[in-house]
Subunit: 118 residues, 4 copies
């Protein structure tokens, strides 16, 4: 087992105590942090809540930490984040492809089933 | 305030005790349940963890409940789901557009900033 | 399978856009809503993030919805909640005891192991 | 701002693909890992879903990573965890007291209100 597990994550960060209900400026700030991290990430289309991120666990964690730092620096006294993070040892996760791969599997199953219905 | 708040959600369902590490068949099962619900949903591209779903709170909740029922019926003795759910009363959420809207706002901010850099 | 599955949940509600970093007043508001719901719940000791709640799925969902309504009424334009919710069909969950039961099992295992170490 | 923010977290780990619906053995394994970490943690009473953990962000993250490693080593091919993690820069968090503090504030508000009702 690697000493730094490969992690596929999805996180949702919420700035607190800002007095504004819009979070878009803060999320944009996070996106800049993630761009610098060099990790594979996606502010997911159709999913305003989650940002996908994957890579070695320690780097994924550091990137989210740095988003907190950036959002604090932008004025939020508190930041709360929900992180869903998964690791697996039963097969290699294609680097940078962990999240995409899972969606494709579901689509294949549904496509096969639709084909079988004819 | 409406008696049934409009909810923008993102959920991640995990079948437990199935003896298989793949969850794709179960997620496909959920997708069939969601198709029947008539709600706006998206098994998000690039996000194998979350399924976006929005509509009146009670219907969103019922649809996720019915995913549990379907996944139990398919053989999972336990099902654990993480739901991120948001409501707002400061503006109308465009029906079926709550999640898309949020992503667009972030993109506009980043685009404006990039333009300003030239 | 019951048409309304028994659910053991744990939720964390965050008022947004309030201009205050303290959330205690809002959480207290939720506690009042939960008291009226008649469901088994606990603002967990040692866990400022989660409130445990269990009962029929539809009632658990309704109670959390009503917390959102109460927190909006108290002035928060947006409310974001993370809900972890589980159901099982492999054994009956002792009513009002789903969360306690799980902790006890972990304690038994550790106690047994410590005893074995002597 | 410290380069390693103080984090108050609550996580819920789910072993996947184990063929058993009980997770108690795995959670006990995590508890052993956390005991070695030296961090403040609590497998919360009345909350079978969450384990509270707090300390410097990097150490909290490392401890959860090590739980994944331990659960994989015990046989789970996949592990999925939901982490709620918060940081704040508006006041010092009493070391090892971040979660307790929040619960106490809610209790004070409710007690004050009950007293006022007489």
């Amino acid at each position: 087992m690697p000493s730094d597990l490969y992690a596929v994550a999805d996180f949702c960060l919420i700035p607190m105590g800002t007095g504004e209900s819009s979070v878009a400026e803060y999320i944009a700030e996070c996106q800049r942090v993630l761009e610098k991290s060099g990790l594979t990430f996606k502010v997911s289309m159709g999913n305003g809540y989650g940002t996908n991120l994957e890579g070695p666990w320690s780097e994924v964690s550091q990137a989210i930490h740095d988003c907190h730092t950036a959002v604090h620096a932008k004025g939020a006294p508190r930041v709360a984040t929900d992180i869903r993070i998964g690791t697996r040892v039963d097969r290699d996760t294609p680097v940078g492809d962990g999240n995409d791969h899972k969606v494709k599997r579901v689509e294949e199953i549904l496509a096969r089933e639709r084909a079988a219905a004819y």
